[in-house]
Amino acid sequence: MPDLAPPIDDRLLHVDADGALTLLAARERESGRLVFPAPGDADPGRYESVLLPREGRLWSWTVQRFRPKSPPYAGPEAFAPYAVGYVALGDAIIVEGRLTGAPLDGFAIDMKMRLVAEPFMLESGERRTTFAFAPITEKAA
């Protein structure tokens, strides 16, 4: 496995010993409702920590074609458009993230997607790991 840069937020991603990535969420004990991202100050009496499914289907998508304003955007000044989408992870929750693994016009609603690690460079040049979703290709499946 390639060495992953540190997660962009420790409460967002779980990386196991094999380098596999999982998204961290919280489940409200009383209602059973999943919350992503997990609340920063999650009261363990109210929430339990859960790992989200890694696969799902593309629910919607678009392309970010201009560089977002900084702040809040922390990426480098040089900009390349990127795809963004919502992926329905099993019957758990619909999560928003960057899309990768296909050309910008290569996404379609209902495509099978899986969670992947996404390298992210801060304006300072430091590297972080965030998450993205990529189409599950015949070969990978």
Partner: protein, 382 residues
């Protein structure tokens, strides 16, 4: 409990006015509303006002006169104008006062809004990695809607084409030149499937409305509309909103659909009774989806409605008769009141070149914004 009337309205032209602050534009709108109604600031018993980014409304008293009136500042994001009107409406309805004003104004810098994650209860990574953009939300909402309900890019373009055609006829609009559908479709892609001409831009402007009790409205004898309903609603479970890192699998209603139902019930009318509507059109797709969320048609019927021109000024349900946000731009604190201003002007027969014919009686307005709030007002010609 009194019925509530709008007896006067003023507007500062939308767009960019370098020489006036947002507050000065607000003062301009108040003075114009008073002047047109033949009223004096000293006649006004109370005020509600606000802006999202252009200062505190109550400081206007320095310009307008230190009459000691209660002036309540409203800060409710995209629903600031709608909430100011809700406050003024409730105050008169309760019988506390019988003549007041609601004012909304704003002045934003150029380009997309730049929200701060912490102010929205979100972690920094959401903004840092480039997910916190209103444009992405609108694009993804219409992208899915188009796939589910058979709406085409050409229909998106037709909505923007209509907005610019209507804006050309509205003195207060920012974009006063018609733009044809081909130009709209081939303009720069901002967030697929939405091009530059399909999005509104942050802008400047101000609107003031004078509200009166029934007895006061009768004694003044001014052109008036009766406010039959004002409903403000926040988001219900399972709605799809801006700045949502995740959505529940179980999908639900929207703040628009519940505000709309509440307003129809309050007014005792249905969508079939509405003669013209001003619907939140942050981008072309929003107008299309809001047609259904406000009950005017079923999901997917917009495709035929728009092809047949039913939402044009000469159609059976004219929508966004002054060009909406697409032609007027989006000064957050003023947009909701602009819609009511437009309905007031139309129903009192003062809309000039863009006047809806056929003696319109009921006007409907709907504003929507982050983080999931909608305000609906229904007015009737008095």
């Amino acid at each position: 409990m009194s019925d509530v009337y709008i007896v006067g309205a003023g507007i500062h032209p939308f767009g960019r006015t370098q020489e006036r602050t947002g507050l000065q534009q607000g003062v301009f709108a108040v003075r114009q509303a008073l002047g047109r109604a033949g009223l004096d600031w000293r006649d006004i018993q109370f005020a509600y006002g606000g802006s999202d980014a252009a200062g505190k409304a109550d400081t206007m008293v320095s310009e307008l006169g230190l009459t000691g009136l209660p002036f309540i500042n409203v800060a409710n994001g995209c629903a600031t104008g709608g909430s100011a009107m809700f406050g003024a409406y409730s105050t008169i309805k309760s019988g506390e006062f019988d003549l007041g004003i609601a004012v909304g104004f704003d002045k934003h810098p150029r380009g997309a809004f730049d929200p701060k994650p912490a102010e929205w209860g979100l972690p920094d990574w959401y903004g840092e990695t480039g997910l916190m953009l209103t444009t992405q939300f609108f694009a993804m909402k219409i992208q899915r809607y188009m796939a589910m309900h058979g709406i085409t890019n050409r229909t998106l373009a037709a909505v923007a084409e209509k907005a610019f055609a209507n804006g050309a006829l509205a003195g207060h609009a920012w974009r006063r030149e018609p733009v044809d559908a081909e130009t709209i479709l081939s303009s720069t892609m901002v967030s697929d499937p939405l091009t530059k001409f399909m999005f509104c831009s942050p802008a400047e402007g101000a609107v003031a409305l004078i509200l009166a009790s029934e007895a006061k409205a009768k004694s003044l004898g001014l052109p008036a509309v009766r406010l039959r309903a004002v409903a403000v609603r926040s988001r219900p479970p399972g709605s799809f909103e801006v700045f949502s890192p995740a959505l529940d699998i179980a999908r639900g209603l929207s703040p628009t659909s519940i505000a709309s139902r509440a307003a129809y019930e309050m007014a005792g009318v249905g969508p079939e009774d509405v003669d013209l509507a001003q619907l939140q059109d942050t981008e072309s797709g929003a107008e299309i989806m809001h047609m259904a969320e406000n009950g005017f048609c079923a999901d997917g019927e917009q495709q035929a409605w728009i092809a047949e021109g039913r939402t044009r000024i000469d159609g059976i349900l004219p929508i966004n008769t002054d060009g909406g946000c697409l032609a007027c731009g989006e000064p957050i604190g003023a947009s909701g009141l602009r819609q009511v201003y437009e309905n007031y002007v139309q129903l009192t027969g003062q809309a000039g070149a863009r006047q809806v014919t056929g003696d319109p009686r009921i006007g409907y307005s709907h504003v929507y914004g982050a983080p999931g709030v909608s305000a609906v007002a229904i007015v009737e010609r008095a």
